[in-house]
Amino acid sequence: MGCEMIELPLAVLDRLMPMHAIIGATGHISHAGPTLRKLEPGDGFAGARFLEVFELRRPRNVARMTELLAPGGTRLSLRLRGRPEIPLKGLVLPLPGDAGMLVNISFGIAATQAVGIFDLTSGDFPPTDLTIEMLYLVEAKEAVMNESRNLNMRLQGAKIAAEEQAYTDTLTGLKNRRAMDMILERYKSCGERFAVMHLDLDFFKQVNDTLGHAAGDLVLQEAARVLVEETRSEDTVVRFGGDEFVLLLHGLTGPEALKAVALRILKRLEEPILFQGVPCHISGSIGIALSDDYVEPEPERMLLDADKALYVSKNAGRACLSFAHDLQKGQATREPGVAAQGSG
């Protein structure tokens, strides 16, 4: 097979393949290209045995470089023994006669780390090498990815705010009915024990009619604050509409404990709320339904029963509470500090 020969000065090889090495028959490096020399800042591999400086990962278990000689060349996967974190790629080819062999090495995708570690510049790569283009692309991709991440974070923030808003009553900051339905659905499907407390403000209409909507809004906000303060973090306080509130008390089904919570709330609602220096007097009525009282607690049924109990309380006068399971008795308990009189 005819094989035409040309002679190349080493300077041409240096420019074409600045990461090549010429290895003699004994496996020693007789010449290293200028960029390859930068990988060994001391003596640039002068006179070193190739396999002592580089560790071959593939092919493995090579004792002599001559084992690698194949007509079409052998692909190498290798590392610098002093820099095992940078994987290198290479190709080894036999040189004619007894000139030894030629190895050309590349950083492959490790170029981004390598340029920093070995302090390389674009002059260390020939213009035909795409390493610089790859570095450019990596940086451009990072810049675009950063923008993309920022955009996603802003969208995520907006989504959370929108969801929060969708489940919140804007005047009081309490949960709304949508949120309540979701929580009740969860309680039902998980078989959670809970109590539903339905609360209606008394005399709210009078405040609204005599002092105006601003006073009414303030009263609602203050009542909401009382409800949040008198319940635990695992409970849910819902503005059910107008001057009606629903409290979902998680895991709390003991009538005495619930009575104590309800009485504390009723007592605090009796305290006058100051609107521009004018005291607003309101009160409340409460009806309570317990999941324990049902074989299969249906949230809708419980809400309805709590509402019926609420009307028993209303009919008994201000600041009263009653339980759905006592409906037949038609009895309500009054907050002890309050004298019996009509409710609004």
């Binding site: 340029v115 390389l120 674009s122 450019y136 993309s148 955009l151």
Partner: protein, 194 residues
């Protein structure tokens, strides 16, 4: 126009003249918002409205605003990644000038839907060049002028630049290289810091 361009204009106005100026300009331009997202697309009318409002608010001709925008893109610390990408163009200012022919394709390689001007460098001698700027948006040549001015500083080269007007949607910028090693120039390493 691509959000990256609109976002750059917004950052330029905000970083240079303050958030209050930017908000005023956004209001005068009747954007209906005051924040461009870099990865979304916007109607070109919004870009033109912002630039017009900026020129009015700052009391400067549009050409000056565009040129300052170009300078900002390279020299402001918030834009260091763009400056780095441009520096990949070459080791010297002349190498960089020659790399401008590729700029359009390079930009597309990074952001496929980004439309930046097609640039073509004509060299009259080793120190006299004309850059042709082709873009649908007239005035882009002034942005390029600002970019060139800042990049010359970056390489430490002393240049004389002049916008030579526009003909058939092609703007011409003349470049006269007076001295390549006029000043120190800014550091550029292939590896990113940190």
């Amino acid at each position: 126009m691509h959000g990256l361009i609109n976002r750059s204009i917004q950052c330029f106005l905000r970083d240079t003249y303050g958030a209050e100026s930017w908000n005023t300009i956004a209001a005068v331009a009747e954007l209906g918002h005051n924040n461009f997202e870099a990865l979304l697309d916007y109607d070109q009318a919004q870009t033109e409205a912002v630039l017009g409002a900026a020129a009015g608010h700052l009391g400067s001709p549009l050409e000056i605003v565009l040129e300052d925008l170009g300078t900002y893109l390279v020299s402001h610390s918030n834009m260091h990644s763009l400056r780095r990408l441009l520096r990949f163009g070459g080791e010297s200012f002349v190498d960089f000038l020659h790399s401008l022919d590729e700029l359009h394709d390079r930009a597309r390689m990074a952001v496929p839907d980004l439309s930046v001007p097609v640039l073509e460098l004509l060299d009259h001698s080793s120190s006299a060049f004309t850059l042709l700027v082709r873009h649908d948006y007239p005035g882009f040549g002034y942005v390029v002028l600002g970019v060139l001015r800042a990049m010359a500083d970056d390489y430490g080269a002393l240049v004389f630049l002049e916008h030579q007007g526009e003909k058939d949607r092609v703007e011409m910028v003349s470049i006269e290289l007076l001295e390549t090693g006029f000043a120190e120039g800014r550091e550029f390493a292939l590896a990113q810091a940190g």
